[in-house]
Amino acid sequence: MSKRFNEDLVEIARSEVTAGRMSRRDFVQLCLIAGVAPVVASTGIMSPGEAMAQAKELVLANFGGDAVKGMGEAWGEPFTKDTGINVVVDGATPLAGKIKAMVESGKVVWDVCDADGFLCNQLGSQGLLEDVDYSIVDKSMVRDGWAWPQGVANYTYSFVIAYKKSMFPDKPPTYADFFDVEKYPGKRTMWKYQMGAMEACLLGDGVPPDQLYPADIDRAVKKAKSFADNIIYWESGASSQQLFMDEEVVMGNIWNTRSSILERDTDGEVTWTWDQGLFCPAAFVIPKGNPAGAKVANEFLASILIPERQIKLLELLGNGPSNPKASEMLPENLRRLDPGYPTNLAKQIMRNEEWYEKNYDLAVEKWLDGISS
């Protein structure tokens, strides 16, 4: 408490100096009294806190849309309250290629980037990421295996079957039903970029859930091609939702976040099942040489694992907590929405991060080649 007060005092004094109402000598003296080392740079005077966290700002890059506001509210605001460091959420889609370009050109503007679990090792092994400091981030706050050397799981999501409830009054559909247009006419939708869609094809083709990985990409592509005229591929989460709203599709392999919004917006006409869902961990990574410094970024990573903040994100966006303790603490009404809630998780299949780490590029490439030719 007193440390924060002192820092604030120095902060005020600093602006006094800048405004010319206080001499530099008095400033240095005041810093000594307050017990903080003054940093007098040629361009101005920086307090030590500032010297460490340069702009007193942390830029969090995510994939835009509601997540800008949601992560700002659930994770940014409390962090600012704790540390005084402002969190700016930039919905600029931090795809792997952009992170690589930024780090390699030495012009890093993001401090923390939203990514997928398998990307932590994939990008990390290319030397593009800062290490996660596990003396700051508490490993026990995420599931085993989700604390990677260069990244930590921030939330979970799932690719689930969303469907029109009137088509399946008694039971939820399986992927066998998904690929059966004779029995259940209408178009389906899957993600254009392979993930989730590949697993759906394999399950629909009769691969047992526990034998999904290592995945037979060619078999999945073949299945997708044979079903081509019945599929509309979705490109963004928003378009997956739109396809249902416009009644262009009757079933889809989409993100659980979108399916819960759909259920709300259609008064339950469109709903989803956790059966055969593909459960995935997302992760935060720190691009090498991030402007706010690795320490601040690590402090931020530690802060988002706090159960209350994880629950807040689930409430706002439908992203599940990566901290299992947060799942345990969920109130009744949120349990159904959390992909990682034990009863929901039991019905799903875990995405294999090791497989994706090695095969993601090849899989996307083969998939796109396959569905577009």
Partner: protein, 298 residues
């Protein structure tokens, strides 16, 4: 005052002095030096880097990525799709553009204004808005299909969008103005007396159009076609939205290689191939027509 009465001979002499000699550097080149420098820095240097990247395989010089382009069936079919769609699009855009430009060049001032607006307003709309509008019109429960079904003309919706047909419709809509304007400019420049002369020696309207008008405007057709074709090669948003995920064209493939699969060298090699193809195209057209004229130089 001396100097007021300058003889024509003196003027000619002065002009001769000022004109650049064959061995003398024109001092005005100094004015364009900054522009040249900018082009070198911002265009040629990155381009050289891109070319370098395309020969890089794990840090070593290699033709791997070029071999990949010719041998990978996926990439080959993607290139073929791109070429096919752009060629069809260019052909349709030219026919439509010629018709619109012809109408614009030969109608009254008021109608011309109206028609120009009809071309310009969609031209000014964002490509995203246009693609999404087409989606709403063309999809299976869209205005066109539901209209046709309600009218009893068809029984099940036509596959108008989320396939190649949809991509071509969207691209033609975007590219027609690029064909219209050069064609219109060329048609306005056609001396109307040429047609009158043709008619006066007994040619029918059709004959004078085919033998006089069409050849006169032909360089502009080539120019417009080239513009549309080259522009079409780089299309991204339209195919991505109207193709329903099943039409992947060159620029999207490059984008995926750069952003997702991190195969920058492949993206570089594809870009080099695209650049060479464009240059070759320009060269061929230069052989056929007067390229300087096509590009608008006098």
């Amino acid at each position: 005052m001396p100097g007021w009465n300058v003889s024509p001979a003196a003027i000619a002499h002065a002009a001769h002095q000022a004109a650049p000699g064959p061995h003398r550097m024109n001092p005005y080149y100094g004015f364009i030096a900054p522009a040249i420098l900018l082009i070198i820095l911002l265009l040629l240097a990155p381009l050289a880097w891109l070319v370098g990247l395309s020969f890089d395989q794990d840090g070593e010089f290699s033709l791997y990525w070029y071999r990949e382009i010719t041998t990978s069936s996926g990439i080959r079919s993607m290139l073929w799709t791109t070429l096919r769609i752009v060629t069809i699009t260019t052909a349709i855009s030219l026919v439509l553009g010629y018709l619109v430009a012809f109408a614009m060049a030969h109608m009254g001032e008021r109608q011309r204004m109206l028609l120009t607006l009809c071309v310009l307003i969609p031209f000014w709309l964002s490509v995203l808005v246009r693609a999404l509008s087409w989606l709403i019109l063309l999809r299976s429960n869209g205005l066109i299909n539901s209209g046709l079904i309600d009218a009893g003309i068809i029984s099940s919706p036509l596959p108008l969008v989320r396939n190649e047909a949809g991509v071509i419709i969207g691209m033609v809509h975007f590219l027609v103005p690029y064909a219209v304007f050069p064609l219109y400019a060329a048609m306005r420049a056609v001396d109307p007396r040429l047609m009158m002369a043709a008619r006066s020696v007994g040619a029918s309207t059709w004959r004078s159009f085919v033998d006089v008008y069409l050849p006169t405007t032909f360089p502009a057709v080539f120019g417009a076609g080239m513009l549309v074709f080259i522009f079409g090669l780089g299309f991204f948003v339209t195919p991505s939205i109207l193709g329903g995920g099943r039409v992947v064209m060159l620029s999207e493939y490059v984008s995926v290689s750069v952003l997702q699969t991190l195969r920058w060298s492949l993206a570089g090699a594809l870009s080099v191939v695209l650049l060479l193809a464009t240059a070759a195209l320009l060269y061929l057209i230069g052989k056929v027509t007067n390229l300087r004229k096509v590009l608008g130089a006098a």
